[in-house]
């Protein structure tokens, strides 16, 4: 130890010096009143800071936070319900579409007893009926409705993503 530096004094305060280093420091302090004064002041800072206490948060704070959490849960619940509603409507539309297409098909007309034949006839008639169905106004209407529902669902997906990003940044 050539010189008493601030770092050495801080290490002494934090008990990071070895026994021999402490001895050496004490010897040097005996002939260095400025450094001794600094050490006393540093020790005073350290002991005073150890007596510091926490500031008291306002009494109402826990209640305010819990009510914010509760309202957040309600909003989240509502958005989930809406999402499920969209998904439900979309699923029903799909089922309805398939139901309509299948109603146009009459696989029993084939007269074949084999399951494989039944399936083959079923899909060949499905293909014809589907092609026929595509030209109808009803299919166009269903397609347009599905597109609108998809667009709405996409909008809410983007909106919820944006909300999530905002919650991260604030």
């Amino acid at each position: 130890m050539k010189k008493i530096t601030d770092e050495i004094l801080n290490k002494y305060i934090d008990s990071e010096l070895s026994a021999s280093e402490i001895e050496e420091l004490k010897n040097m302090l005996a002939s260095n009143p400025d450094a001794l004064e600094k050490l006393k002041a540093l020790r005073f800072v350290d002991s005073s800071l150890r007596t510091m206490e926490h500031d008291k948060a306002p009494d109402h704070i826990a209640g305010s936070i819990m009510s914010r959490i509760e309202s957040l849960s309600i909003v989240k619940g509502k958005s989930f319900y809406f999402f499920y509603w969209i998904v439900g409507v979309f699923s029903l539309m799909i089922l309805g579409l398939f139901g309509y297409i299948f109603s146009l098909i009459s696989p029993a007309d084939s007269g074949s007893s084999s399951i494989l034949d039944n399936i083959t006839n079923y899909f060949s008639s499905f293909s014809i009926s589907f092609n026929l169905g595509l030209s109808s106004n009803l299919i166009l209407l269903i397609g347009a409705s599905l597109s609108i529902i998809l667009l709405i669902a996409f909008y809410f997906l983007v909106a919820s993503h944006r909300e999530f990003k905002n919650s991260l940044s604030h």
Binding site: F44, S48, H54, D55, I61, I65
Partner: protein
């Protein structure tokens, strides 16, 4: 009555017992508030930031896996919430980035603080209220919250060496101010 550990409470909240989160609030509200008040230098801002911090902690609790202490994880949220507030108020550059030597506010107010303080200890505590954000935070975490330098470095997202340097500089600043005002007699 059975006393639940911090880990039990966290697991309970994760399982959906929302009301148990109030136990965590009671555990940490004073500690977090102390830190926020010294960072934001304003009671109202500190209260709002405290609410935001707990809300973020609640929303992200599922991502807390227990790799570090909950206190370290939570203080990091509190610290970043305060920094975001400072940045949005365009005060970040003034308060957070300034070094001690450049912190004119403290030196400008020093005489006023000195004249209003009855003794060295009061003066010291009043000065801490005016310290730059990072210096105040390191002292609060080290002395009031008994955090290790390693934990402090995680909260503040700095290296261990930087956390140590910051602690030493903060103490040296307070020491120099005490000596400047000739408080030597009270230090014996």
């Amino acid at each position: 009555m059975k006393k639940y550990s911090e880990k039990d409470i966290i697991e309970s909240v994760k399982r959906g017992n929302q009301s148990d989160f109030s136990l965590l609030i009671d555990m940490y509200k004073h500690k977090a508030f102390s830190m926020l008040k010294r960072m934001l230098k304003n009671q109202m801002d500190a209260e709002e930031a405290l609410q935001d911090s707990f809300l973020k902690a609640y929303e992200n609790l599922s991502s807390f896996r227990g790799d570090s202490k909950f206190s370290t994880w939570f203080y990091r949220i509190v610290y970043n919430t305060a920094l975001t507030r400072l940045a949005s108020a365009k005060r970040k550059v003034e308060k957070e980035m300034s070094s001690i030597d450049e912190h004119y506010d403290l030196y400008e107010n020093d005489d006023k603080i000195y004249s209003e303080s009855k003794d060295a200890k009061t003066y010291l505590f009043n000065v801490i209220e005016e310290l730059p954000v990072r210096n105040a935070v390191v002292l609060i975490l080290f002395y009031i919250d008994d955090m290790s330098l390693n934990e402090i470095s995680q909260v503040m997202d700095v290296s261990l060496v930087n956390a140590k340097v910051l602690l030493h500089r903060s103490r040296n600043l307070l020491r120099d101010l005490l000596l400047k005002h000739n408080y030597q007699e009270e230090m014996i």
